[in-house]
Symmetry: D2
Subunit: 397 residues, 4 copies
């Protein structure tokens, strides 16, 4: 019998910069997306870039990339790379993304968009110019594409919650509780920009703005660094490195936790908390929205579920219902498993890739755009400004 | 056979002022406490006071009080009243409590202690003087005596949480969401002092300070009134009254919601939220404490449970455990039902009465004292001050 | 001013036999019911009976009974006793209940109705005769009157579940896991009739038949005694007594656990499990009903909640909702606290007392009747017969 | 720079038969496993077989298989196929598996192993012979490799539960509730062998035997077909096909639900329920084990969690803890994401593939073996026999 045509669809060459945690997650998404969803283009894992020749080569083999480069500029220069996927720490986002866009590539940039508002503004400008040439720029707030979050957005947009009154969001982890945890790049301001604020706070600010369809107008904040000195890591580049006793200690220059209140433009009150010191909470991104007609609640530790209260129902039969977000009618679920057969964390990246590939094909922008990323950056800047000014209520630019 | 002696124990005559929701709850406690716990004194429901002769007489009969008075001063003057239990709105607390203490009575005063710091200070002063004569003054923060909360305090005090890093508290209700809900006394500043802040916020500030064994050092706050006008109630005195269409509308002069962040003296960061606009949440007082060695979480809607994470356990077997707080070793549980046979909201008042009666007998002060109530009042004042000053971080006096 | 009339309503003199765990729960109900609900008769705690003069006198004083008797016949003979409340072990139910009914008293009899079908039949006959003289006989399946269970019954009766397909019930406790727990009366067949089956199984069989409005047609069962010998208790009468090392060991003559499947007359399949060996489960009576139009789930360890799935809703928004059964429209809730302020285990007895007092006043029978109790007894007998016959499916008489 | 070597490891050619739901899940596993885990062999998606030329070709392209065959015998005959992965309905398992083993291939066979004990016995015999030549035969009870289930097995094997007393398992789905759902192959005895019993019951019997490390000694069962006629599907081969009104109706020849009790060889009592009529339950495989020293509970709808109660802890601090099974020390988690970043349903197939590839490399058998599958088949046969004999307790061969 005739053997199948490998694929009749045009390829989309992807080049990835960075190959740590995010690199692994993105690789799994690029390998999977075309096998699960019907796509107009066939993603091809063309090349990966990293500084250490041996490590990047091993990563390429492990994750299925066809080639490896030790300089991201070489990666951008490749003809077989149509889209640059940036998985590095925040301090290099602006430089790489702008170069890639200028080189005519599409860009997917991990969050937070940048380490400063100025950098983010430059990136938005570059994206604006590139858009004129049909290039797509997306920022990787992947949690928007956890199906339960997408469903929540649909329900808010359909008016099921009425007028929003309260937004309450926390993102709780606990991996910094041990004071012996080393001083990795995430704890140094020059690399990470900020601490829990940029890492976790960026996610929840974006998610809150996405779900509400509204923007934070102002914030009032407190931040804290509970453990001010930590052992230097054995190897500077390591994400979760072991420590080196002889290396001594260094100062933690970012926040360990940030709490802030705020007002949305539409009038809702909000509370936010981002911390890596909440013992027992591993990845507890929890968001609750209360509106005049209903409420929604979500917890990333139970990511296949969305709790919904319909306040229009008679009180004696009303209550928060647990929607198992695994029905074929739910966002992204048409392509996966039967009801009740849950998805995991990594699927949010597959869904992000799906929508990005489709946008590349149509040339239409896809959210979250760099402008969305800038909006988050401005909130984070207002949080830091408020914290520095004795928690004074600070308008978001 | 010999018939039982009605009781050999000396009586403690109780006189109650007010007989709405709180009056019913306190009555149930006074009727029950001596039947369940071994007490050195036998509480006697001597008299109840209220302005409306017919209503107070009906309340006395319904709730089992031996006599009724239409003037609280007459109640205080009765020889058979040893302890005055104040269940009125906050604007009359100071006057009644001070008069009762000066008349040599013990006092239990519902929360919040008063509607202002100045009133609360005068009450503390009166309590101090009365204490010299062996009189007890207690404020009714009854949630301290939900067994799960008492157990939480024991666990914190025993050091099971290590150094506290985070305190996160919300008190969510939804009974004001309907803009047609009438303008009862709880929505008028002159009677209630404040809105969600004094009603719900007072509870969570006290509970947070109790559980941590620490005081809030400063706060930064936002408050909001979502529905600024409401129909006037048909009958002014009604707690949950129907509206009178002909009566027109009046201005809501208190907050509908208050959100604030804060720092505890010991260094923990805190977030607080009090609202009556969280659709679907009926009585969701939720508190979570994260410390370096462990965490606790409690939800008043599931008041027989306390969640505990022991961070000293090996990570692969650690997790939040749900302690069913119904074991005989748990606080107050020695007198109730077998394990798993849960208690309800009203039992917190029985436990409060137990400890108050014992304190009256020994003459030793019992927490929460009026000083504890003042401390809460000062936090609420700082919250209002911060909200008025653009959320500026405001030290608690 | 005029003092309140103690009460204008006619009294209903209650006499109670037995004063252990159930006696305490019933006393609390009799003291409370007339203070919370509007009743046509005023319950009066007239007298209590028990064999030990000192203990019964102490119980009377503790629980508020006006008189004490050491012979239940004397209690029945009292003119001030209109209703006899039987809280003894099952082996004395028939004798006391029949005598009380013949003496013209109303009767409330704790569950299980009797230790054998023959006894239960005689009791039903006595109740039938007494009913002709307007006497009420009720059996104490109190869990029917946990508000969430009453609400569940209302919802099933209203057709919300459609045709029932599955009934799945467990009643899990763990207090016999320790082999050192003594051989109390509950572990001896002559006193208790059976073990987990009569103690816990009786509750779940009644509750399942009540909620479905249907009867079990047949069952297939396995029973087991895991610990076959236990230390003799120090004092024979003790409910939860300490052991006496010198007393030696005795044989456990009842089941430790019973599991059975069954068919309801209406076609639903059922599974049942009753055990006191489920470590960590304290009072986990869990019942789930699945029908063609919806499902309900209940757990006694969270007794203020009822989970409901409405299968007629569009699948993408459907899910089990947690109804907090504390709304004023919910069964029995009109008299208690505001929404979200939960009730406890003991309130089921207050509700039972309310409905019994009203039935005494109207003369109309109130469920669960002795006939309901007999029906349960017949199921338990079929379970024992099936277990003895190699699990053969055994029709319920 | 040097480009990475595609892979230095020897390939393992996989050939798959069938490409519906299970085919998609297995394809995702084969594509992923070598990218996430370190494997001694490199799985290669060599060929896929199916009867419909166009469909199988499309499936090959979609899922990434290098070739397509329309005859499974041709697939077995291919030199580039080392391992045959059987994803067809149960009626063809025996023929394909035996042929593949005789051809010297390794075999992975979906569950249930076969539609009869006789077929399963022949397969075990073929596997025994093939094992002598170093060939591996595994049956696809993938739920063993959900990390929480694997962890549960580790904990039982380590003695953390003490002596097992109770095993309680349900597998609840609801996709057959609608009587308009068509008569697909899963509802015809000749294709599926049995209904909920073989589809869902096989999973829970295997899981219960795996987790306990014990075998069911006997069972007593009831089965039922609630909807006895259904519309014929438009296309016979369709898994979830639409109906064809003109096609009329046909008889459902399998069970809709099966409930059974049982005894494990080690003395534990068990209850089982398998149904596709539990409205609102989508994939609720729930298992609870109670032992003398502790208990475990698992729900497939929350597959990243395992609840554990340690009964050796002091009662006042004991309770079911929710272990988030996402720590690097947990089974299979060393290769995935940081703590709290959950996995999904499909990962169980990746883990199955990992262990199978390693077994192929070492030549050591890997559980679940065909003998494990036969053991399940014997339990299912005993269930059917008991149901046919009036629920008589029936020993498992």
């Amino acid at each position: 019998m005739p053997q199948p045509d490998p694929s009749s669809r045009p390829a989309l060459g992807v080049g990835m910069v960075g190959y740590a945690f995010m690199g692994a997650a993105h690789s799994q998404a690029w390998r999977t997306v075309g096998r699960v969803f019907d796509l107009p283009l066939r993603p091809r894992l063309a090349a990966i870039a990293g500084r250490d020749p041996q490590a990047v080569r091993a990563a390429a083999e492990r994750h299925g990339w066809a080639a490896a480069e030790t300089d991201w500029r070489a990666l951008i220069a490749r003809d077989d790379v149509d889209l640059v996927d940036i998985c590095t720490p925040g301090d290099s986002h602006a430089e790489i993304a702008i170069a890639a866009l200028e080189a005519g590539k599409h860009v997917l940039c991990e969050k937070p968009l940048a380490n400063s508002v100025a950098e983010a503004e430059a990136m938005v400008e570059a994206a604006r110019t590139a858009a004129e040439r049909g290039r797509i720029a997306m920022v990787g707030f992947n949690y928007r594409r956890v199906p339960a979050a997408s469903l929540a957005r649909e329900m808010v947009a359909a008016g099921r919650l009425g007028t929003l009154r309260h937004v309450r969001v926390v993102y709780l982890q606990d991996w910094l509780v041990d004071p012996g945890f080393p001083l990795t790049w995430r704890l140094r301001k020059e690399a990470a920009g900020s601490g829990a604020l940029g890492d976790l706070g960026a996610h929840i600010v974006d998610l809150a703005q996405y779900l509400t369809g509204d923007d934070l107008a102002g914030v009032s904040a407190l931040t804290e660094t509970f453990v001010r000195e930590r052992p230097l890591p054995a190897a500077a580049s390591s994400g979760l490195g072991t420590t080196d006793a002889s290396a001594g200690k260094g100062a933690v220059t970012v926040d360990d936790a940030a709490v802030f209140t705020g007002r949305f433009a539409g009038g809702a009150l909000a509370t936010f908390e981002a911390t890596r010191f909440a013992t027992g909470r591993k990845n507890a991104l929890r968001i609750e929205l209360n509106g005049s007609e209903g409420s929604l609640a979500f917890d990333l530790e139970r990511l296949n579920e969305l709790d919904y209260h319909d306040h229009r129902e008679p009180a004696p039969r009303a209550g928060f219902r647990r929607i198992l977000v695994t029905e074929p009618e739910h966002p992204y679920l048409e392509a996966w498993w039967p009801p009740g057969h849950g998805l995991g964390y990594e699927h949010s990246f597959v869904h992000q890739a799906r929508d990005l590939v489709r946008a590349v094909h149509t040339g239409e922008p896809v959210a979250p755009t760099f402008a969305d990323g800038l909006r988050v950056q401005r909130v984070l800047a207002a949080v830091e400004e408020s914290a520095a000014k004795g928690s004074a209520y600070t308008a978001v630019e």
